[in-house]
Amino acid sequence: MEISRDAYRAIEDIVGTENVTDDPAFLDSYAFEWLAELVRPNRSHYMPRPWAVVMPASTREVQAVTKVCNKYKIKIKPISTGWYHWAAPMKDNEPTVQLDLRRMNRIIDIDEKNRFAIVEPYVICAQLQAEAMKLGLNCNIIGAGSSTSVVASACAYFGGGPSSHYMGNNSDNLLGQEWVTPVGKVVRTGSLSSGAGWFCSEGPGPSVRGVTRGNLGSRGGLGTYTKCAIKLADWPGPTEFEVKGRPPGYRLPVGENFRAYTIGAPNWDAWANCYYAIYDNGLGYIFHRQLNLAGANLATALWLTYIDPTKTLNDVETLAKDPEIIAINEKARISFQLILAAQSVDGIQLQDKILDQILSQTGCYKVERYCQQDMAEFTNMYMQRLGHKHCNFIWAGGYMGSWMQAGTPDFVKGYVPTAIKGFEEDQQSHLLVECGGDALMGCGSTLGGGGYFGLEQFVSYDPASDASIDACIKHMEDAIADCVAQGLPLGKELLYLQIGWSDQRIWDGMAKAPQTFVLDFQRQFKEAVDPNSLGDRNYPWLPEKWGQAPAQAK
C-alpha cells in the first residue's frame, strides 16, 4: 500500500526529505512489534505496516503533518520510544502515517524550586532521572523501565512503577500537556493555557486529563502529545550513580541513608498484612515485587547466575537443584523488594526500627541471602534505575503479562491462588517456561502513599516457536476463563488480545461494561476532536446506542 505522492511530497515539504520514508524495509521496522505474534493472523510478528514514517522535529511540524493527514484522510499514529503492539497501526489496508517522535528529544526545563520537569516525547526516564538527580530530585520510572518515554507514560499510558508508592503514578504526576489533536489544533492544558506556566494540570485553564488519558491512556489513538510537565520527587542520594561491577549485573552501592531489602513472607496473609503496615507507616522509597518475574521456583538460581559475569543461563539448571539454593528460594518464595531512603542516617535508622517492628508483628523477615552485599547492591541498582526491566525476556525472548487486576492487598491476595494454579497447569505443556506458578510481579502501590496495586503473571514463551506462541495464547484464554469463573475483572491478557480483534468484537465486549455512558461520552469527545477519525481505537469509545442508556437524573 502506498501513500499518495501528493501527500508524501506535502509531508516532505514540512519535515525535509531525510525525515520521511516509505521504504518497505524501513516501514517493517515499525510494523514489527512485541506481542504481535499473539494477535496477528498466522502468528505474524508484524502489525499492519504504516504507509510512511515521518519524523517531525517540533510541535509546529507535528501540527502541519497532522493537517496534511486530515486533507488526505490518512490516519496518524505517534510513537516515542515505540514498543508494544499497539504502537503500530491497528488495521491492514488503512492508510496510516507513523509519527516517530525521536527528534523531539529535549528536556526543556527542570524547575528545581517547584519540582517539575518539562520534556518532549523522546526523553526517556533514565535521562530525566540522571538530570534530576543532579538537582537532588528524582522521577517516577514506570514499570516498563527507564528506556521508556516520560511523555508516553504520563499522557498516553498507564504510568505506574516501583517508585509510584512514594512518588505517585505518572497519571497523577502529569502537570500539563501540549497536545496536537487529530485535526491539528494545539491544545495546552491546565495552567499552561492561561500563561501561568506548567505547575498545574487542572487549571487555571482547561483540564482534559481525565478524558484524554484516564487510567490507561489513549496509547497513540488520539493525536500527539508533544510536551508535558511531570512532577518530580526528592532524591536524598548522590548527584549521579557510582555504578560498580561488570555487565550485566551492575551494582549500586547502598548509601548510608539507604537500605535495599528483599522481604519474605511465610504466607500470603502475612504478605498482605506487611503491605498494609508499610502503607500505614509511610515506609518505602521504592516498593515492588520485582525479582520474582523469573518465577518463584527459579528466581534465586537465575539472579545468582545473572550477577556473576562468568556464568551462563546453563548454570541456572544446576543451581536450581542445589539444596542450599532451594532453601533460599523457599525463604524468598513470597517476597518483595523494598528500598528505604532518608535524608539522614538518623532517619534511615528510624525507618529500620519501624520496619523491624512491622516484620516482627507480621511474621515477615529479611531474606538473608538477598540482603547480602552483592545482591543488595544489585537490587538497589535494578530498582533505582530500572535498567534491567527487559530481563522480562531473559528466559526465551518472549514475555506476556496476564492478570494484574488492581486493588488492595486483600483483593490481590484473593486472586493469587487462582493465578498460580492456572499458570502451573498451563506450564505442564512444556511450551511455556516452567518457572513455577508464581511469576507474579508488580508495584507495592501504584497509588502515591500506598493502598492500590496489582500483580502481573510473567508468562515466558519463545516467540521463535509457533507451539510456544500458541501455548501463550491458550494461557491468555485460560486466564480469562478463570477470571470469568471467579467473577473477577479481566486482566492484561484481555488488553493485549483485543488488539487483534475486530471493532465489532471489541464493541460487543465494551457494551457489557457496567457504565457504558462513559464510552458514549468518549465517542462524543472523539467526534469533536477527531471528526475525520484519524486516531485509532486505542482511545476507547462506543458507537451511538451500542451500550446501555445513560442513567436519568432523578
Partner: protein, 424 residues
C-alpha cells in the same frame, strides 16, 4: 553464519531499543546518554541493531528488497558493538552484532555493497593495505630503526604496525616509539616490513569475509615461518582481528598482545620507568576493538537447546561476549603511572564508550557520519576539561585529529605511547 542463523534472534527481538542507549545503569546525563552513533545520525529505527534484525527478517520473509536506503541503513554503522553490550544487559544471549555482520555479508554476497567501499577493497586486493598505498613502502616507517626483518630471520615476537601506522606519516611516530620501547626492554622482536599484510579486520567488518581469510592465511604463514609465537600491535583493530577473528575463522593459536597490555606489564615488573613529569590532564577513549570487543575468544561449536520447557540455552554452554572483560585497566594503569598526568574520565567509558566513528568502513564510505561521530566524542572529551584525548588505536586517533581540526578545537589527540614517550 548467515542471516538465517539469526532468524530466531530477530524473532525474539522485542524492539525494546536498549540497543540505542548506553547501558541504562551507566547513564549520567541527557547529553551523553546515547550509545549508537548510527541511529543517532540516521534516526530511523532501521539504523539500530534492532532495526537491522527486522530488516534481515523482512528480507528473509520477502516483504522487502534491498534498496539504496536499505544499503545505507546496513552499512552506515561503525560496528562498534555498543548495541551488543546494551542489548545483552537484559537479552543476555542475543547476538545483534553478529547478526548485523551476517546481514552485511549477505548484501556483499548479493552484490549490494555500496560503491564507496571499492577503493579500499581494491587497495587491499592489490597492495594488501586499506590506505591506497604501494605495498613495497609498508616497512618504510622503520627503515632507520635497525629492527629485525623477519622475512630474513626469526624472533619470538613480531611487531605488527598495521596499515595506519605504516602509511600515515603523521602517525608513524607512534610505531617508532613502540619499537624504541620494545628495544629498550630487550624484547626479541622483529617486523615483517613490506611483507606485512593488513589484518583484514576492516574488510571483514563490512562483510567481505574472504579478505579476512586471505590476510589471515598470509600473516599466519609468514609468522610461522619466522618462528613467531606472539604478535604485538599498537592498533586496536589489528588486535581484535588477530585475537578474535583469526582465532575464530582461521584457527590461529598465536598469542596476541596490544602495546598497552605490554606497557602495563612493563610498569608492573619495573621494566618501564617513567620519570619525566608530564603535567597534563587527560581523558582516555576506549577503542571498541580493544575495549568491549577485546575479550578473549573462546572456541564454541554447539547448538541451542531448551531447559525448563522453553528457556533458551546452548549445548555446550556458549561463551558470552558482552564487554565485561575487555582491556580497560591496562591503559588506565599506564596513564596513572605517568608522573604528572591526571586522568579524568568521560561519562561513557569502557563497555559503554561512544565510538570514534572510524570503524565498520564508515570512515571510508560515510565520511560525514564518521566525522560527526568523532565530533560527538570530542565534545564529550572537552566536557571533562582535559587537555588531551588519549587513546590506543590509530584509527580512533586519525578520526579524532580530523574532527578537532574540523572544529579548530584545542584538544590535543594523543596515542598513549606518545604520552609514555614524553615521560621517558
Amino acid at each position: 553464519m548467515t542471516i538465517q542463523d539469526y532468524r530466531a534472534d530477530a524473532l525474539r527481538c522485542t524492539r525494546c531499543a536498549y540497543c540505542k542507549w548506553v547501558p541504562l545503569d551507566l547513564m549520567k546525563s541527557w547529553r551523553f546518554s546515547k550509545g549508537c552513533p548510527s541511529v543517532e545520525y540516521g534516526k530511523f529505527h532501521s539504523y539500530s541493531a534492532g532495526g537491522r534484525l527486522i530488516t534481515s527478517l523482512s528480507l528473509m520473509d520477502g516483504r522487502s528488497t534491498v534498496t539504496d536506503k536499505v544499503k545505507d541503513s546496513v552499512f552506515m554503522c561503525n560496528m562498534c558493538g555498543s548495541c551488543d553490550v546494551a542489548c545483552k544487559v537484559c537479552r543476555y544471549d542475543m547476538e545483534p552484532l553478529l547478526a548485523m555482520h551476517a546481514l552485511r555479508a549477505k548484501l556483499v554476497e548479493d552484490g549490494d555493497l555500496p560503491e564507496a567501499f571499492q577503493p579500499m577493497l581494491e587497495s587491499l586486493r592489490k597492495d594488501y593495505n586499506t590506505m591506497g598505498e604501494p605495498h613495497e613502502r609498508r616497512g618504510d616507517w622503520a627503515k632507520d630503526l635497525g629492527v629485525k626483518d623477519l622475512t630474513k630471520t626469526t624472533a619470538k615476537y613480531v611487531f605488527h604496525a598495521g596499515c595506519r601506522y605504516s602509511f600515515d606519516g603523521e602517525q608513524s611516530e607512534v610505531a617508532r616509539t613502540a619499537v624504541e620501547i620494545l628495544k629498550k626492554a630487550g624484547v626479541d622482536f622483529g617486523i615483517m616490513g613490506a611483507a606485512e599484510s593488513c589484518c583484514g579486520g576492516k574488510a571483514f567488518s563490512i562483510g567481505v569475509d574472504q579478505q579476512l581469510h586471505n590476510s589471515a592465511d598470509h600473516n599466519l604463514a609468514a609468522w610461522k615461518k619466522a618462528g613467531v609465537d606472539t604478535v604485538i600491535t599498537p592498533c586496536a583493530d589489528c588486535y581484535y582481528a588477530f585475537k578474535r577473528l583469526y582465532t575464530k575463522h582461521a584457527g590461529s593459536t598465536i598469542k596476541v598482545v596490544h602495546m598497552v597490555e605490554l606497557l602495563d606489564q612493563m610498569v608492573t615488573d619495573g621494566r618501564l620507568k617513567m620519570t619525566n613529569p608530564v603535567p597534563m590532564k587527560v581523558t582516555y577513549h576506549d577503542p571498541c576493538h580493544l575495549g568491549r570487543q577485546g575479550e578473549d575468544y573462546v572456541p564454541w561449536d554447539g547448538v541451542e537447546k531448551k531447559i525448563f520447557g522453553q528457556a533458551v540455552v546452548y549445548d555446550p554452554p556458549r561463551p558470552r561476549y558482552n564487554g565485561a572483560f575487555g582491556v580497560y585497566d591496562a591503559p588506565r594503569n599506564v596513564l596513572k603511572a605517568i608522573p604528572g598526568v591526571e586522568l579524568v574520565e568521560m561519562e561513557r567509558i569502557k563497555e559503554g564508550a561512544w565510538c570514534c566513528g572510524a570503524g565498520g568502513g564508515a570512515r571510508e564510505a560515510y565520511p560525514k557520519f564518521s566525522e560527526w561521530t568523532a565530533g560527538e566524542r570530542i565534545e564529550e572529551a572537552e566536557s571533562t576539561g582535559a587537555d588531551a584525548l588519549v587513546t590506543a588505536c590509530p584509527w580512533c586517533e586519525r578520526n579524532f585529529i580530523d574532527a578537532v581540526r574540523g572544529t579548530k578545537g584545542k584538544l590535543e589527540v594523543l596515542d598513549i605511547l606518545q604520552l609514555v614517550a614524553m615521560a621517558l
